[in-house]
Structures are given as structure tokens and as C-alpha cells.
Amino acid sequence: MVNIEINGIPIKAEDGAMVIEAADAAGVTIPRFCYHKKLSIAANCRMCLVEVEKVGKPLPACATPVTDGMKVFTRSPKAISAQKGVMEFLLINHPLDCPICDQGGECDLQEIAVGFGSGVSTYTEGKRVVPDKDLGPLISTDMTRCIHCTRCVRFGQEVAGIMELGATGRGEHMRIGTYVAKTVDSELSGNVIDLCPVGALTSKPFRFTARPWELTKFNSVSPHDCVGSNLHLDVLNNKVMRALPRENEAVNETWIADRDRYSYLGLDHEERLTSPMIKQDGQWHEVDWDTALTHAATKLRDIGQKDGGGQIGAVGSYTSTTEEHYLLQRVMRGMASDNVDHRLRQQDFRGQDSTALYPNLGQSIVDLENLDAALLIGSNIQKDQPLIGNRLRKAAIKGGKLMFVNPKDYSFRMPVANQLVAEPTNMIAALAGIAKALLDITGEKPPEGLTDLAPTVSDAQQAIAKQLHESGKASVLIGNQVAYHPAQTELCSLAALIARLSGACFGSLAEGGNSAGAWLAGAVPHRGAAGETITSAGMDWKAQLDAKLKAYVLMGVEPERDSLSGADSISSLQAADTVIAMTAYVTDCMRDYADVLLPIALFPETSGTYVNIEGRWQSFTGCVKPMGDARPAWKILRVMGNLLNIDGFDYMSSEEVRDELKAACEGKPVSNDFPWTRPDVSAGKGATMSDLEAFPIYAVDPMVRRSTALQQTADGVATAKAN
């Protein structure tokens, strides 16, 4: 720590800190445009010029390191005159079109101009005009407004890992652009909108729809991946107008993925279901809630009484709240059925008893930044969990060795030490080789059945094993594609073995946004809430479909698109006596197989909790009323519980539901181990690339699939073409 003085006030500052950081920590405001705490220092806007004792020229606070005894003056005549001078320069070529600018009201230039600008412009020359660029469906440009701070350029280089934007031309002719006309396609691209201190880069879908001061901010949490990115949802007249990141260093820092930012566009999609409906004699009828719920409860009760609870199955969505999962499984178990699941994208359930209390990272998300080595298995991490990708990228830039065993040679925008590509059917062998190499290193005896896999060790496998073994902080992480793999059990078992032998931390990147919450809530057939043991396991989702049950309860899912066995699911659902679909969207396909349609709220319309991959419970409130007559699923389930005469369904709020579950989870050992199980040598023979790549970035859940803007991105279009 060094002692400095800012405006006469003594301050302790970190060694090596810049003056602006020390000032920020002390609550002294220094105006700035190009400086951003998450980006490298450019010192190009010159707005933060301050006076430093014994230095002739004013110095940029963002690029001047503190030294012991330094005296800084941020409001001295010299500092103010420098700051005002820069402000004047920034404004002379700025169009000053605040009344028609989306940034107006939350614009750094506007705000700082209030303090440092003049009321009248003395600039009488012609102003610069810059043609706009088409950066794609997400980002709108008004390049005449650009003040050339290069935050967007640095974001691409330093965070997204791809320099999609750059500054071409010199002097006044400098332009921010893509050089050769192209769109900005990174999965984190929307962050440049937040970074842009003026209205040069704004949100295309949000364009001209609201002014910032009309908006009410609500805290929310994104359900689209296991990070649980913190969101601000901005609401006007009961409509979500946009989603912005809510800063949380531990989770999403200051970023969100484009998927988190633009999924809200799916809220008012034309396929939204707005009133309860029942099908009678092949015809759909709009009914009131009482009728619909009574009808549904009667159907379920009848089947339960006639055929037994075991003839009823239920599945919840990866994006359902923890409370919803908890109540769904309570309703099911109240009807004496353990056939409840949420794992629509899995096909191998043999290892479910070995799975931890819930799939978890085994460490905090922040810890990932400091890994010396990581082996990811079956993961296109920057597309699957973009912000986990960002943390790992930071580790890789610091010298951490990122290694992959993947079914395909994915291109990553970060340094990758090793990517071992193995056909989907060969992934077991690939891992077995690494395990064998580690056994050779440690001299340990192979566990039972490993030799059955006849592992051979290639140079790449040897290198991965050695790297993991020698690195101080290492991690072995299970990616989405392992979850989709028909030999998930073998892959997890081998991965955990590799982790144990190399002294690495074993962790999972759950395939769904709220997988952890669903497991904890007991939305799995073999365990109750909070991991409670049950006498005999119910049917997993795949088994439910194979068994062609009499009744299915769907919550927030479109099985035909959300599950790996899409086609099979349609025939089983069609064959059932009753399908009760609690759903936000309705399609012709669903109208065909369902018998009762209950419109439910999407995450911005309900309160609830998501549990992220590090086990962080993040609760949020609803910020808009559900569309039409839709209701939060937890409320629907609460009524169903009562109609079915199940005890303890008197919850008054989702918080009560959460607290009940949370109390049950208290003190439960989590563990992130996966005990060794003897591998089945024939497992995984049916693995296909199409299964492993069935859920690309913008096809993960019904809401994302209905965000028009996301579907128009390069990734979205690629998915559409592939289907």
C-alpha cells in the first residue's frame, strides 16, 4: 500500500494501482470514457486528465500509477481546464442528437457534458458524418456519434477473444468498423453495447422503443446456462424492453452472453399460450382456470386410481425454477409416482446413483480463472457456457493449459494446449488412454474393468496426463456432450478417475441452466428432494417414453425439440390417454398430442430461484405480469396439489416453497465425486455426432428458440440450416 493524497484527502492505495482506481476506491469521481475496469488501459480519450504535484502537464489518471507521497488534484484549475478542453473536442464532431438517440438518458458523454461542457458551441466548421455499419441483428450503429474510445475494439481483443471490430483510418478519418463488411458474431457481442459510452453502438431490437428514464429495473437471473448470469430486466408498461447485465464479480462479472441479453424477445412471441385450454372430442376449447385445473386433476386422479401412479410421468424444463421442480415432484410423489425427471437431453441413466447431490463445478466460478490446467471433456465451452469460457480463457491467457477431449475439432478463441479429437464412439477409449497414462505415472493398479477397454496411450494422451499431473491447480470438467452421450456413465467414471489420479478437481458443467436446482428439488426419479433416498426409483424421462405411459405432465418443455428422443416422444405422447402441458408456448405439434394446455409464466414473469453450477441459490422476483391468463407454474402446481388432496400444499409464496427445500438441503454433503464403476465395453457404440450437437447455442430452450434476433445471428442461421 502507498499513501497518496487526492484533493488534499489522504488515501491508501494498492501498489501499482492507477490514480483512477485509487480515486474510484475513495469515491472521488474522475470523468472518463475510454477507461473501463475490465479492459486494458488505452489512455486515449484524455478525459481523466488530472493535475499531479510537481508534474508540468496534466496526466491521465487511468494510466498514471500511484507513487508514495503523490498529490493528485482532480478539481484544480489546471485539471478542470484540461477536462473541459477535452470535453469540447469530444463534442465538436458529435451530432448532439440526444433527443433521437437511444443512449440519451444513460449516456456517459451526455452526463459528463453536463459537468464539463459549455452551454454554447463555438465550433462553426462542418461536422463529421460517418456512414453506419451493419453489424448483424443484435447491434445497431450510429457511427457519427462515436468518440473513438476503442472500448468495443479492446473488448473483442481482450474478452471475446476475436477482433471483430477495429479502428481503421487515421486522424479525423478514424472509423470503428469491421474493415471488410461483416457482422459481429461472437456470443458475447452484445456487451459492446453496454461498453459504448455514447450512442454509437446500441441494441438493435431495443432501438427506438423506450427511453431509459421510463424504464423500471428489476433484478433477475438468466436461466439459459448453468452460470446463472445476473440480469437487470428493464420494464415499461408491463413489458420487458431489454435485458442488461447486473454486475456480480463472482458470477458474470460485468458481462452477459447474447443468449441472456436477447432471450426476452421470446416473451411476446406469437406462439405464446394465453389462456387455459382443454381438448374435447378432438376440438380445443378455451376454458377458465378452475375448469382446466379441475379437468386436469380429475384426469390424473382417475388414471392414478385405475392404473396406479406409476402410469403417470412428468418432466420439467432445464429453465424451470427450483420451486417449480420441487412442487412438480411433490405432486407426482403425492400421486405415488416417482416418474419425474428433467433430463430431457440425456440417454444414459445408469450412472445416476453415482452422481453427486447435484451436478456441480467442484469449485467456484472465479476459481476457474486461476487454473494451471484444465481438461474439458465433450465441450464446445465458448458456445455452451460462454461466460465459463471467458473464465477459462483468462486462465489460458495467464498460462493455464486448456485441454480438450472432444468429438470434433472445435475452434476456440483462446490458447488451447491440446485438443484430442475422438469420434463420438471413441471418446471412452480416448479417456481410457489418458487414465492409463496416469496409472503408469502413479504406479497404481488399474481399477476393475479398465483393462477391458484395452487402453493404448498416444503422445497426446500422454501429454494431457502429464500436464494434469504436474499442474498445481488442475480441473477435469464434464461438458454438455458427455451428458448427451449414450455412455455418460463410462465417460464420467473415467473422468473422475483421471481427476483423482492427477490430483485434479472433478466438476461438471451441467447441460441445463437450472440442472442443479432440479436435482436438489428432487426432479429426478431416483432421489427425493435434497437427495433423499427413495425405496425404488421411478422412470427416467427416456424410460417413461419407452414405457408409453397413460399420462404425462409436461412443464415448460417441448419434448419434440427439447429432448434427444424427439420423434419417439411424439409417438408416446400421442398414444397417452392424457397429456397435461404446462407451457408458455403452443405449437401445432403440441396441440396434437396434448389434452390440457395450461399457460405458464416465463422467468421474467414469475418469482423463483435458480441454482447455478457452483451451488449458488439466486432468487428473483417477477418483473412483469404473465402474458394473458398465464400463471406461474408454481401457483398452478400448488392448486393441483390441493385438488389432488396432497398434504402441505398451502404455500403462500414461492419463497415459502424455496425455504422449505433450502432447509431440507441444509448440511447435506454435496460431494463432486463419481465413484468408479466397471465400464461396459459395449457402451457408447451408438453415439452419434448429431446427438452430441443436437442443442446448439440458440436452440437450448423454448424461449431462446423464439428470440427472433438470436435466430438471425450467424449461429442461429447455421442451426436453422442444419435442421
Binding site: F89, E125, G126, R170
Partner: protein, 423 residues
């Protein structure tokens, strides 16, 4: 007394060849270095004695600059020669490259040894095709003669030079922009600190010197720092090449002792064109303040005397203007140059140079008003000292000096909507 240092082979036939240079005792000092007859400390001491100051314009003492290098720190270090020579009015480095390239190579090699660098780069201005070819050929000759390369003459010392031809940007003469350019990036100055001595080319400790500076080093070692100092005067050691251009009969480069009276230099350049009257002198290149004839005639050509006269020696680029020169048009031309050459990175320069240029242009074309004169000074003041590199100052200083010394011409343009001098 002239042509003692960088131009010492100029009187010979084909002065640029290796044979010519060797016959003039060239590479003797490098060979002494290779034989271990000089330590880096001794070389730096000689340079300090010589009072050699950076010839690129800033005039920073060379010995002191070299002493900043962490030469004993392990890892790659670089010596970079700045032959970008973009300052309007300057053409001295071009002639060193053309006529005495080996002395520069020798100077770079000695510099490399002194600061612990095994690799040198010469960044040559993009328009210098002929000098580039000639310097490249000289490097190849030196390599063939075993004067560059690995384990040179069995000394265990490695040194080699790469040439980088610039893309034509003035700002790449700024040392950190030059580094960026060598690295293959857009030529934009870096903010300092860190300085190149700690974080330079490819992030390694780097020393950057001007062509003339490095070319002076072999002669300083040959004849001693004291000899060099005595060529000039205290604190202004040595000779200096002055590029004289403008309204003179014999424009060209003149290597003369520091402290030579300006009037003598003017005479060497053949005196005023057609015997017209001297009106103004820019003594150190377009970025340095303009002086009136009276002041210029009273100064000597060295750092201190020119500074006392109110300008700077800069790169020694003397621009002579006679009584037929319109000072408003001259400033308009200069301001336009800086407007075009600003890299655009930092705000005051990017926005301010265009503003200055437009205002001066307007005044020149009879569309100015009295307030413009105050505004010009105001804008220049808001650029000066507020930018990442010195280009902003370079754009501001001429405006200030032209208005200070020739304000009547500007007023005339405004009041009469025409020029005072041109009919």
C-alpha cells in the same frame, strides 16, 4: 570545418561502399569492441563526455538514454534505429543512408553491444526506396564480411540488423508508434510509462535512436568524446547536419559544428534566392516555432541558442522563407499536414488538428473573423500538453508562433479578405 562525422566519406568516389568505408578506418571501433577493448561502461562514459544529444528532434542526451537500459537483465533486448525522417524540412537521414550506410551499421552494432541487444531494427521511411535498397545492400555486405551475424569474428558476440520499411505515416517517427509499426500493428503511439527502455519492441527493453545519432557513435569512439564535444560547444557537442530548404540558392544538407551562426549557414546555402529579403525561419522542422528574420539572424545553430531565440533545434531542418511568403498560407499548409497525419487515437489531437486546419484555411480564404485568432490560440492551448505523444504539441506550436510573430498578416487576411504579400 565540415563533414567530420556522418558525412566524412562524402568526398570519395562511391562513398557508400564497404571498401570506401573500410579505407576510411570504418568498422575499426566495432572491431575494438569485438576484441574487448571497450566495456559498455566506457562507451557510455565517452558518449556522456561528448554531450551527444538525440538528433531526431527531442535532443535527449544519448549516453544517459543508453544508461537506462537494463543491459544485464536476461532476455532479448533491441536497438532500433529511427530512419523514419518524416518531419517536413528534414532530409539528413536519407543522405546518411544513401552515402554512409556502414557508419550507421557500425553505430547500431556498437549500440547493440552497449545495451546488451543482439538484434537491431532499422525503421526506414516508406518513401525512401533508394536509401532502403542501399542500406539493405550494405547490411548484406557487412554480413558477408563477417561484421554482422553470430559469434562475430570469434568474439562470442552476436549482432544482426533487420530493415523495416514504413508505410508512410508521419506519426511512425514517434518512437512507440514506430515500435507498434514494426510489430505489424497500426502505427499509434503508446502511452508512457512504461518507456521503451523497460517495455519496448515485442515487450522487451528497447533503445531507439535517430540515424544521425547512431552514425555519430563510431567517430566519438574513434576520436574520443572530448574531441566530439570540442567540435561544438559545451552541452551542444559535435557537429550537426542541417537540412536547409526554402528560398535559398543552394538548398541541401550541411554538416557543420554546433554553434555556427545562422548567417553562416545561410551563406553556405547560397544566400537568399534572387537576393530577396529574409522574412522568417523555421529552424528545426515544421513542428518548431517560426522565428522572424531579425531573431534568426542573431542566433547560432545549437540547442541552447535556438532555444533562447524562442524555438527549437529539433531535427535541424531549417526552412527559409523570404518576403514573398504568405505566412497565413504557410500555416494553413502546416496545419493541414498535422490534420492529415494525426493518428486519431487521442481526442485533443484527432479533433483539434482538424479544427485548427479548418480555421486557418478559412482565414486564408478571406472567411475569417477576429474571434478566430483567439480561438486558434485557445484550441492550440487545449491540444498542447494534453495528448499521448508530441504530435499534438507539434500541431499547436506553429499556430502559436505564427500568430505571435505574424499576427498582422492574419489580421490583414481577415480585414481585407486577401493576402498582404501576394499582390
Amino acid at each position: 570545418m565540415a563533414n567530420d562525422v556522418c558525412f566524412r566519406t562524402l568526398d570519395q568516389d562511391k562513398p557508400w561502399t564497404l571498401d570506401t568505408y573500410l579505407s576510411a578506418g570504418g568498422y575499426d571501433e566495432w572491431k575494438k569492441v569485438l576484441k574487448g577493448e571497450f566495456t559498455p561502461e566506457q562507451i557510455i562514459a565517452e558518449l556522456k563526455t561528448s554531450a551527444l544529444r538525440g538528433r531526431g528532434g527531442a535532443g535527449f542526451p544519448t549516453g544517459l538514454k543508453w544508461s537506462f537500459m537494463p543491459r544485464n537483465v536476461p532476455g532479448q533486448k533491441y536497438i532500433v534505429c529511427n530512419s523514419d525522417e518524416g518531419e517536413p524540412g528534414t532530409c539528413k537521414d536519407r543522405d546518411i543512408l544513401r552515402f554512409n550506410p556502414h557508419q550507421l551499421i557500425e553505430g547500431m552494432a556498437i549500440a547493440g553491444f552497449t545495451i546488451g541487444a543482439t538484434q537491431g531494427y532499422n525503421y526506414i521511411r516508406g518513401e525512401f526506396w533508394e536509401p532502403y535498397k542501399r542500406f539493405q545492400a550494405a547490411i548484406e555486405d557487412a554480413r558477408a564480411a563477417g561484421l554482422l551475424g553470430k559469434n562475430i569474428m570469434g568474439s562470442g558476440i552476436d549482432f544482426d540488423i533487420e530493415v523495416h520499411l514504413g508505410g508512410g505515416a508521419y506519426v511512425c517517427g514517434e518512437e512507440t508508434a514506430l515500435i507498434e509499426s514494426i510489430e505489424g500493428k497500426k502505427g499509434q503511439p503508446r502511452f508512457k510509462p512504461p518507456f521503451p527502455a523497460s517495455y519496448g519492441l515485442y515487450g522487451r527493453p528497447t533503445t531507439i535512436n535517430n540515424t544521425e545519432t547512431l552514425s555519430s557513435v563510431p567517430m566519438i569512439l574513434k576520436n574520443g568524446g572530448q574531441w566530439f564535444l570540442e567540435l561544438g560547444k559545451p552541452n551542444n557537442g559535435g557537429t550537426k547536419i542541417f537540412s536547409v530548404s526554402g528560398h535559398v540558392n543552394k538548398p541541401g544538407n550541411f554538416e557543420i559544428p554546433m554553434g555556427t551562426p545562422f548567417s553562416e549557414l545561410l551563406e553556405m546555402a547560397g544566400g537568399m534566392l534572387e537576393g530577396r529579403k529574409l522574412k522568417a525561419v523555421i529552424p528545426g522542422g515544421s513542428s518548431t516555432p517560426v522565428l522572424t528574420a531579425d531573431v534568426a539572424m542573431g542566433m547560432n545553430m545549437d540547442y541552447d541558442s535556438i532555444s533562447k531565440a524562442g524555438s527549437m533545434l529539433g531535427a535541424g531542418s531549417v526552412i527559409i522563407m523570404d518576403e514573398t511568403t504568405c505566412m497565413v498560407k504557410t500555416l494553413a499548409r502546416l496545419s493541414h499536414f498535422y490534420y492529415e497525419e494525426s493518428c486519431g487515437q487521442c481526442t485533443p489531437c484527432r479533433e483539434g488538428t482538424g479544427w485548427l486546419s479548418r480555421m486557418v484555411h478559412r482565414i486564408e480564404h478571406g472567411q475569417g473573423n477576429q474571434e478566430d485568432l483567439d480561438k486558434l490560440l485557445d484550441v492550440a492551448g487545449k491540444i498542447e500538453g494534453h495528448t499521448i505523444c508530441a504530435l499534438g504539441d507539434a500541431a499547436a506550436l506553429p499556430v502559436k508562433s505564427f500568430l505571435k510573430n505574424f499576427s498582422d498578416e492574419f489580421r490583414y487576411h481577415i480585414d481585407h479578405k486577401k493576402c498582404m504579400v501576394a499582390n
